[in-house]
Symmetry: C2
Subunit: 511 residues, 2 copies
């Protein structure tokens, strides 16, 4: 074969190298200006429907979503409504989590648009319906780190990711914040979405704020994006901090938080350069408030704070008490704005946060985590997924991810919640194995896992009154009695996976 | 099977879901503090040899390198010497480029340690030896965008990447700059290395500056890194700006640059919000100096500058004449420091820079590129790889990537270089097809590709004297005569690929 300048390129050589011969395309190049190109580029589409068609999405495929808009999310319902109209069926919805906002999924399940779900958790009507046997296939519940790892290692393959970006340019450079005046929604870190964009076969960005190219800094690079669609609104940012991430004023939560702060301060891990994560839930998030004074008094600074980030954490950073913030998810708009404005407030993706297989993920560098629980049993096993009635009403989140790696895992829970005992002989659903949970702080006292006698000794030495988990359980039973065993049907409606992807437990249909 | 809380998990269900059952590991978790963990973590190894052993590197595999230290690079030689000592054979070296610093590769090729090479280019003794038939297998030359795309689509599979980072923490969060006082080397953007880290099976970071966890902002996240090794020095930063990226004082180069600036100003693409890249080579880089005054006079600002970045570009950014800098590679230490210090100086990876298949890559948004050439022929085809003697002495770099996408591709070259004509009937090696090259600016005049009559008309209207490329060729021949055709042997020592991965041309062994 002869090339453009009459050089012979041998077929044998090409075959040997496994390369093809270049035959120059006939058409000339695009000579329009940047401004013209941006107006006509092939990624920016006029409708979600067009993007879905171009993505090649077909019946039976897996679509993914991220939950950074939490209860304020409009994206998932908008996409599912469109898919339903387009007649797609038997889809797997793999969302980083699901909230009360997603009740419309019920109809899409009934009509056969959605036949499988993977999620960190669910709440509200959807969770209720699924607990009562709505779906043929069990929901696969994954922790945040478990999901990221499953996507990275291919065990959760995403065909098309639908990701919402509070700002994006027309080729897809996307951010969870915006620097312009026109921004409508803000969610902060796109930590979970970043993983989907990187590994999905096709990525569609939905945005309500198209900004000039190049949008920067971009959480998701345009090279990980296939199509961009402008929509009216992605979500209601004010609802990001509702529910599990709201700033608590509950006196019992504050008491627990204050006690947890004491435990942390005397645990042996409260040293200059320590690292900390406060999980969602009022008491857990409130711990930050109670350790601040002692940090100042002892001249202790945290090296980094990790996880879902609140305005409280931002305040400590701005006061110089926390060196860096590693943010996989904003828990309020203050956190979102800080991500944009503060140099050492760093966005990390789900793998950087909590991949269990990679020692480079931040959970491996975690000293202290404070985690809420719906139920704790006498072996320190934790349930954060199902209520006392067996109905799903929570999310795994980063619970087992962080608990299994943090040097000190502190559980916070009241002993009784609304006449329901929270400390039991056995949790109803196993989410986090007790072997990695070190201390339980309640409104009735503190118990230390027998596997951590050195912690117990330190707390006692510091004058804290330590009880046993059995005593806490009994104190609950004294007030509200021993709960009857829940009655379930045979059908499995959910499986709970460990961060490593294996099955820890099953959730049965409630009677 | 019964789980920890005595729930039955059926084998049939697990089989149906394709999931395994979790049997809790017996060992407890690691309860050491962050500071203790960082000292003993499993990624930070004491020697390069240990990292290589742990990586599983075997005979016949592909190893990769990046060329951000350019002529000052120590990494490749250090690694190859170690591999040779360890007895490894038949390796493919896939480096983003090779320079005069890499002459020691000759011995490793002779001894069978290295049997294949992929690179953007090569210079010096190594290039000379290969041009004279040193290797059995031809070198595969790829453009920067072509390489990134080949890595992303799997046609270039990297088994182990060896990447140098001017700062890294012990788990691998790596940066091309450093914020501490102890830094020794600085290279700026790790644009090419980022792609290798993302796609390689194993990534080993070499650093001469271990910084506290978490190193931020990190160009390469720890989750893309397997091992970190501390070495004495990565390279000589002062040599980054040597050779092809040096600030020229050559009067002929400056004349060409001044003429190229006039062409740009009258081309129709010099408008507010334009985008520009200046390729390596004295004349190309110097164009920036000559368009500045006119930008100020006409109140024109560039939306972004792209590519290999110089202190000149940084100066324009700091003066407010360039909105953003998209930096895949620093051409001097000023650029490297600016990347660290300037908010809108953005690091992009090789795919974001120049992936030909992704409309989100920056080359797709490029108005103007100025590119050097070793040879241009009367069809505007360009050679930047082999000299007039047929010996390899250059690099494809981003030449065909940017030329093929920029709205205006301006070639700069003298008509004669050291008594050798640069404008020929046919280039000796085809690197960039003439169909995408629009204007040739020389010291003897300006020629416009007949495919762009509108550009020619604009330049004439603005009073520029336009000649034909044939006349430029003849003016060279008048002085130095028509060159004799080069004599080659049958053996193919290199193949030149188009950014799309297909073979454009072959390079034969010189006689």
């Amino acid at each position: 074969m002869k090339n453009e300048i009459n050089h012979e390129v041998s077929a044998d050589l090409l075959k040997h190298l496994g390369l093809e011969f270049y035959s120059e395309p006939e058409q000339g190049k695009d000579c329009s200006t940047l401004n013209e190109r941006l107006l006509k580029n092939g990624k920016f589409l006029t409708s979600l429907e067009e993007a879905i068609k171009k993505s090649g999405l077909q019946d039976g495929m897996t679509i993914s979503f991220h939950h950074h808009f939490r209860n304020g999310d409009y994206i998932l319902n908008m996409v599912l409504d469109t898919l339903a109209k387009m007649g797609l069926k038997h889809l797997t919805v793999a969302s980083s989590s699901l909230s009360t906002a997603h009740a419309p999924l019920i109809e899409h399940i009934k009509s056969g648009v959605v036949s499988k779900i993977e999620s960190s958790g669910m709440r509200g009507d959807l969770a209720d319906a699924i607990s009562h046997g709505l779906m043929k296939e069990p929901v696969i519940f994954r922790s945040h780190g478990g999901r990221a790892a499953a996507i990275a290692n291919g065990s959760l393959h995403i065909d098309v990711a639908f990701l919402g970006a509070p700002s994006a340019d027309v080729v897809g450079n996307s951010s969870g914040v915006y620097t312009n005046e026109e921004g409508k929604s803000i969610c902060g870190s796109l930590g979970y979405a970043k993983v989907d964009a990187r590994y999905a076969d096709k990525t569609i960005i939905l945005t309500d704020n198209v900004v000039p190219f190049p949008n920067s800094p971009a959480s998701i690079p345009a090279t990980d994006v296939d199509y961009v669609v402008k929509v009216d609104a992605l979500g209601d940012s004010s609802k990001i901090s509702s529910g599990a991430t709201r700033f608590t004023k509950n006196p019992r939560d504050l008491l627990i938080a204050e006690n947890a702060a004491k435990v942390i301060q005397e645990s042996g891990y409260f040293k200059d350069g320590f690292s900390i994560q406060t999980g969602s839930g009022g008491a857990a998030l409130a711990v930050t408030r109670f350790i601040t004074d002692e940090m100042i008094k002892r001249n202790i600074k945290a090296r980094f704070a990790l996880g879902g980030i609140t305005g409280q954490i931002v305040k400590l950073y701005e006061e110089g008490l926390i060196g860096k913030i590693l943010d996989v998810q904003g828990f309020d708009t203050i956190a979102a704005e800080s991500l944009r404005d503060n140099k050492d407030h760093i966005e990390i993706d789900g793998n950087q946060y909590a991949n269990p297989f990679n020692e480079g993920s931040a959970i491996h560098q975690l000293d202290i985590v404070i985690l809420s629980a719906l139920e704790v049993d006498v072996n320190f096993n934790v349930n954060v997924l199902t209520g006392s009635d067996g109905v799903i009403r929570g999310a795994i989140g980063g619970h087992p991810d962080t608990a299994s790696k943090a040097a000190l895992t502190v559980l916070v829970s009241p002993v009784i919640r609304g006449r329901i005992p929270c400390i039991l002989d056995k949790v109803n659903t196993l989410v986090t194995p007790g072997s990695v949970c070190d201390v339980l702080v309640t409104d009735q006292g503190v118990a230390v896992n027998p596997s951590r006698p050195e912690i117990k000794a330190r707390l006692i030495k510091a004058g804290l009154k330590i009880t046993t988990i059995e005593e806490l359980k009994e104190s609950a039973e004294k007030v509200v009695g021993k709960p009857d065993a829940l009655q379930f049907k045979d059908k499995v409606v959910g499986v709970v996976t460990h961060p490593d992807g294996r099955v820890l437990d099953v959730i049965h249909e409630v009677k």
